[in-house]
Amino acid sequence: MSDEQLIRLLREKPPEEFTSDEITLVRRRLPHCSELRQAVADHLELEQVLYHARGGVRFSVDDLLRRAALTPASRGPAGIYGWPTAAAVLLTLSVVGAVIYARGNRRPAEIAQAGKAAGAAGHHKPDASPSTPNGNQPVRHVVRKPPIGTEKPTASSAASVSRESTGDEPGSMSAVRAGPTVAISPPTSIATPEQLAGEKTAADNPAGPEPVAEAWLTQRVEIDNEARRASAELAAAIEHRAWRDACRVIVAAAVNHGDGLAPGGANGRLCSFNLMVFEAIRTHAGLRQAMCDDYAVDAWRGFRGAADRDDAAAMAAVAGQFIGTPAATAARQWLGDRALSAGRFHLALAHFRAAAERASDQQCGGLLARVRLCGALLGRELGEPVTETVELEGEQLSPFDFERLVTEMRMRAVPNSAASESSSSPALTSEIQKARSQSIVGDLLITISDERGHIATAWQRRTGDMIWRQQLDGINLAAPAIVDDRLFVCLAVPDSGGGRRMYLSTLAAHTGEVVARRPLARLAADESGETSVRIETAEGALVVTVGDLRFHADLEGCLQSVTKVADGE
């Protein structure tokens, strides 16, 4: 091929259509032909200008700064120890990492090679000149989709302080009819799961972050060592863009240690392994692709097995273990549909939103419709009206019918003030007077009193009949939070050292059954005085504040992250 032909080729074909041979030819001729050089330069210049003006990338500077805060070794010219020491430390870490991998017989050649290459790149150019910056900081890709189902406040949602169902449940769908009567506690603050994933920390303080010392934190919050090890392996694999290795780490650790807390966020924030994986999958397109390439088949197999057995725990495992695959998205949708059928609208909304964030175009429409429906069931307008047929419970609904259903649900979700009145039976009146807290869940009033120990009691509001009574396994420290039909209480149990262990207990509001009990923090004897405790609900999450620690949990009560409360809050 002549130079003229190559020049014409450059003008006519986009680079992605070039064959390897064509590129090789251009490269070979480049040093010898000025016209060819000019043609490539012109092509690049126009592409660059067009991408600059028309394209672009959105990312959060805050996230970048958080990431930068995790790489102190790369700041400045090697600090007081100099590059030789830094190099020695890096070399030692590489060896230790290799030993750990080798011990687990999972150290793939890919990481070893990438590690060597990165190590070499990091060490052989310690030049501090501006044009040759170096260091091998982990990449943090923080391009985000816009929040799913961004809320449009409605008059009813804005005006309501507490919302209770009318007793006349929305009922055009069997799934909705099947749901129990529930009171809907409006969130005290609105935050999407995506926002929680990028939880604001002290690092966001323009005045300068106050890092949470890990040792200080780990004395009070239990660290899962397996989750810690898996997090370190995941971070190493991501740093070297060894996506397949990162996938192996996720698949191996997500099921048994997904809920385990480990240092993994900015400034020593503790995160569950699942949350770290969620963030990694969201930010690294390569990781998503590798997960789909390597595990799509396994994920669908897991999905079908869980669906056949109607096993929610197995389905949740598929959603966590194979996150990023279409099957994991389908698993989230399945869990959301199940929560919707059970009347757990907030939980369903959280599942649908998480699924929609990683959904394919084919899956996305149905998920956004479900987000919209959940919003309507909660009396809110979420997302945009649908424009395509929606399949729900095996039924095909036209856009018109679906929107009519959404409007109807939203209307019915408006509280009926008359229904909020309770019976004036003597027993209930007396209990209310003694109670430390009282909460309404549909037609139930739940009181917590500290007479004869801490006891939760549920009363039928209209009749005043007692429905259930549950002795709480600890001292109730704060007004409970209610989300859907779950009651979340923060309990303290004295320990032998004079301190207290704090737990987050989850009770099924209609039966009083304790469905989960998760440890929060250990408070030493000298901290056991007046520690303030508060439980709040946020969109798709719970926020428990214990003194200067803030715990974020999902609506199943699983901890997602622990941060330090910023000064002045």
């Binding site: 690049l44 028309r54 990312f59 260091g135």
Partner: protein, 182 residues
Amino acid sequence: MMEDSQLLGAVQQGDRAAFATIVERYQGKIYGYLRARLLQSSDADDLTQEVFLRCYTSRARFDTSGMVGPWLIGIARNLLREHARKTRRRREVAWTELCLELDELVSDDSERYDDLLGQLPGCLETLGPSARQAIDLRYHAKLRLAEIGERLRRSEGAAKLLMFRARQALRYCLEQRSGRAP
């Protein structure tokens, strides 16, 4: 408006707002530079952020009497080299390697680049609606030619031809307006 060197001086003192301003000011240029040299847009997204991450973590080494733009392009070029070294998809990085070799052979002309960038909106206006839409779908919506054809209800070949003509017209317009027509 603060000068770049002042901004970087402020960043060196820990001013996050100044860093955000630098990111805002240069992210388009860096993304454009990387995207033109990478075949995968997700790689360009990743590397753009890493450029600024490295800019921040190595801010102490920046000579505030220098210029920020070339320094960032230097970081981007180093990252491209690392990327080409690590990536195993040879056909994809062959293009990147070609571009890096070209960078060794020709010098940057930032004044000309800024001039072209300033003229671009006016030149886009001179295109017909289909050509403008095709440019938008390609560079803004990041679609491939086949997808552009689908959107415009044309064959892939027709979309390719449309894109070729649109680029040719833009190139001609930019050269004319910047007074550098051959």
